[in-house]
């Protein structure tokens, strides 16, 4: 080991300190502060904030509301987040991968990719408003399309009805987020050696077989990144809901971050808002941990 490397290792910690101090002040500090506030109650420190937010039954603030099932939403913000993830995650991941593969040979693919990426570039609040208009009975493309093909039950303002509000937001978010998945997957596919696909073609593999047997396994690392980032995005979702439905109607489209905002901004119950924030943080740690583990494995 050279002397230079020895010095580097010895002083590595020293070089990390400035960055770490910044992270500590602006990230770790507030996290700790939030954690402490979540235990603050009028009677001192305790778990009552957590108890209150978990057992809350108001449709706009409930985390879980699964009585009298099966029925349309509201199911509670936590369940809405999970449903959102269950639909949005596979849809965006697969759509992005498929489009990246299909666009490979399309003339002007970079323009198409750029258009798809617009959803990622525009502010999410604007995205929420666009979703609201997309699903409006009079000016929205989706209800009008449904009306044209005879789906009269869906020829309505989706965001105004409890049975369609959540799904409208999820579909809208698929549109907004697919650009991310497409970009990451396209970069991964472009970096694959062309010989893989050429060899498969010579062996007589169809496009579909190439997609499933070569492309999907080869871009696994990129897919993992997309999955983790999408999960994090799904759990933290707020802007779209705020702009499009405000969690309604009847609490049918609330999500955890929105409930946190309600406690914080309207109820001025900072302890409860912090409790929801902690729950949300713990949930986001799951995908983050998966990702870190995979990265470390690869590393």
């Amino acid at each position: 080991m050279s002397t230079e490397i020895k010095i580097k290792k010895r002083y590595l910690a020293m070089f990390l300190i400035p960055g770490f101090i910044l992270v500590a002040i602006f990230v770790i500090g507030p996290i700790i502060g939030t954690f402490i506030i979540s235990f603050e109650t009028p009677n001192g420190f305790g778990l009552s904030n957590y108890y209150d937010v978990i057992t809350e039954t108001s449709p706009t603030k409930a985390l879980v509301l699964l009585n009298d099932m099966p029925r349309p939403p509201p199911w509670g913000a936590l369940i809405h987040n999970l449903v959102w993830t269950a639909i949005h995650l596979p849809a965006t991941t697969f759509l992005g991968l498929l489009l990246a593969y299909l666009l490979r040979r399309v003339y002007g693919r970079s323009i198409v990719k750029s258009i798809m990426f617009i959803g990622m570039v525009i502010p999410m609040v604007v995205g929420g408003l666009i979703i609201r208009f997309m699903f409006d009975k009079y000016i929205g493309i989706v209800p009008n399309l449904c009306g044209l093909i005879g789906l009269t039950g869906l020829d309505k303002t989706w965001t105004s009805y409890p049975d369609t509000a959540l799904i409208a937001l999820i579909i809208g978010s698929i549109w907004l987020w697919t650009g991310f998945s497409l970009t990451i997957h396209a970069a991964a596919i472009d970096s694959l050696p062309k010989t893989y696909i050429e060899a498969a073609k010579i062996d007589g593999a169809s496009d579909w077989q190439i997609f499933w047997k070569i492309i999907v396994p080869s871009v696994r690392a990129a897919t993992l990144t997309v999955i983790v980032m999408t999960m994090l995005w799904d759990l933290k979702i707020f802007d779209i809901v705020y702009a499009a439905t405000k969690g309604g109607p009847g609490g049918a489209s609330t999500v955890l971050a929105f409930v946190m905002w309600l406690y914080f901004a309207l109820d001025l119950a900072y302890g409860k808002a912090a409790a929801v924030a902690v729950i949300l943080t713990l949930l986001t740690l799951i995908p983050a941990a998966i990702y870190i583990r995979q990265v470390m494995k690869r590393g």
């Binding site: 080991m1 020895k6 290792k9 010895r10 002083y11 590595l12 910690a13 990390l16 300190i17 770490f20 101090i21 500590a24 002040i25 770790i28 500090g29 700790i32 502060g33 402490i36 506030i37 603050e40 039954t57 108001s58 449709p59 706009t60 603030k61 609201r132 009975k137 009079y138 309505k156 303002t157 105004s160 009805y161 409890p162 405000k246 969690g247 309604g248 109607p249 009847g250 609490g251 049918a252 905002w261 309600l262 406690y263 914080f264 901004a265 309207l266 109820d267 001025l268």
Partner: protein
């Protein structure tokens, strides 16, 4: 080599541990002591005090500020677009009187204020010198936390409509100055539209039903009444009008105070007998974004629109506007915007002077604009009210309609959001009436409201 490596590792861990410990300790100390910091007192001197006489003879003339360096006052308010333009007239008038003061107006809705300002206040800062909001309950909550400047010596509470000023009084002090007020008088229609189809404002409930049926038959009409959609307040205004009409003004007050619950049979009857049949019958449109609805209604896609008086400033020809209340109605909802000065306002003295202006002469200027507002300052000259709005005001007076507080604005908090949200649900699923009323009753903040009312 191994030893050196271990030592540097240990050093790094120690540094990290020290930083985390410092942060935890710092946070704990801050949290433990922050209760004390609200007692900070300001040391400004305000020289333009208003005599607190019961006869209300305070001098309201505004004098020129002493010359000096130009000061920029930051004013936050809920108005945007044309509404901001009408408020700008007030700002311009003030700036003309005070050449050394420039006012920068920033649009911030009540909801956004409620989300952003408490954090600033908790940190003992305020980006705004003066804040306008219609949420009286929120101002009082901020005052309870010690974030708001007492205006008892700046504004004479006796010179304002009592029911309006009462909402920002707490602990024997006045925490905000009432600004102009709006009314929610009933269903608006275009006179020319009614004339074209030979329609008449209803005199009985049956007349009203007949009118809705006639409207339905007019080609191009989607629904007789357009339901404004926003965060939900346009629907709550309609509901309140039905409650006041069929339950009487006292029921509105009893619901606000929590004396009567939402699932009370007499409340349910109003919904069941009058409102729900109309929703089920398609007389109300599904919620349409409220500003879009103004245009659609004006373009005769709908016949009627229940809205506040600010609509007079939003249409092409306010002289073509008229309204009617539901037959038998004895009260209408009215509410005001309020201006307060945060305890940590950067320019306290100038902010208080501006407050004094907007609460008095500023109201006259604002009401003279097509703002759809009337003064809450009893000494304001009614002749200065903008023509179409004056007509509305005179109609309200002639009919002897009692002006009542807005239900959801009075209760406030997250219940207000729940109320709006549940009504949006009711509008699209009227069969869920029981569920909606029970939810509203179950989550009503009974104790707090009863105490404060």
């Amino acid at each position: 080599m191994k030893v050196e490596k271990a030592v540097s590792k240990v050093a790094a861990y120690i540094i990290i541990a020290v930083i985390i410990t410092a942060l935890v300790t710092g946070s704990a100390v801050y949290l433990a002591t922050r209760g004390q910091v609200h007692t900070v007192t300001t040391t400004y001197t305000y020289t333009k005090t208003v005599p607190q006489t019961q006869t209300g003879t305070s001098t309201q003339t505004t004098t020129q500020s002493p010359t000096g360096p130009t000061i920029t006052l930051m004013v936050y308010g809920p108005w945007a677009g044309d509404e901001a333009k009408y408020f700008q007239a007030v700002i311009n008038a003030y700036e003309r009187l005070h050449p050394n003061i420039k006012i920068k107006y920033v649009t911030m809705r009540a909801e956004d204020l409620a989300a952003a300002m408490p954090i600033q206040f908790a940190a003992h800062t305020s980006p705004a010198d003066v804040v306008f909001t219609p949420w009286a309950w929120w101002i009082v909550k901020m005052a309870e936390k010690g974030y708001v400047e007492d205006l008892s010596n700046v504004v004479n509470a006796n010179e304002y409509i009592p029911s309006i000023v009462k909402k920002v009084e707490w602990n024997g002090k006045l925490w905000a100055a009432p600004f102009t007020m709006w009314l929610k008088p009933g269903f608006w229609y275009r006179k020319s539209f009614f004339e074209k189809y030979g329609l008449q404002p209803p005199k009985t409930w049956q007349d009203f039903l007949n009118l809705l049926n006639k409207l339905k038959k007019i080609p191009g009409i989607k629904h007789p009444i357009v339901s404004g959609d926003s965060t939900g307040w346009p629907l709550s205004d309609i509901v309140e009008h039905f409650i006041i009409t069929f339950g009487g003004p006292q029921l509105q007050l009893d619901l606000i105070s929590g004396k009567v619950k939402f699932n009370d049979p007499k409340v349910k009857e109003i919904f069941e007998k009058y409102l729900i049949p109309l929703i089920k019958n398609g007389d109300f449109s599904p919620p349409v974004e409220w500003t879009t609805a103004v245009q659609l209604w004006w373009d005769e896609k709908y016949g009627l629109y229940f809205m506040g008086t600010w609509i007079t400033g939003m249409v092409k020809d306010p002289n073509d506007l008229a309204f009617f209340t539901l037959p038998g109605c004895r009260g209408i909802v009215g509410g005001a915007d309020y201006a307060f000065v945060p305890k940590f306002a950067p320019h306290m003295q100038q902010a208080l002077d501006f407050i004094k202006f907007v609460a008095t002469k500023g109201q006259e200027i604002h009401a003279a604009q097509p703002s759809g507002k009337i003064p809450t300052w009893l000494k304001a000259d009614p002749n200065k009210i903008w023509g179409p709005m004056k007509q509305v005001y005179m109609t309200v007076k002639e009919k002897g309609l009692q002006i009542l507080p807005d239900l959801d604005d009075s209760v406030g908090g997250d219940w207000q959001k729940l109320f709006w949200d549940q009504l949006k649900l009711l509008w699209v699923e009227p069969d869920k009436l029981d569920q909606v009323l029970n939810t509203l009753a179950q989550h009503f903040p009974y104790k707090e409201t009863q105490t404060s009312s």
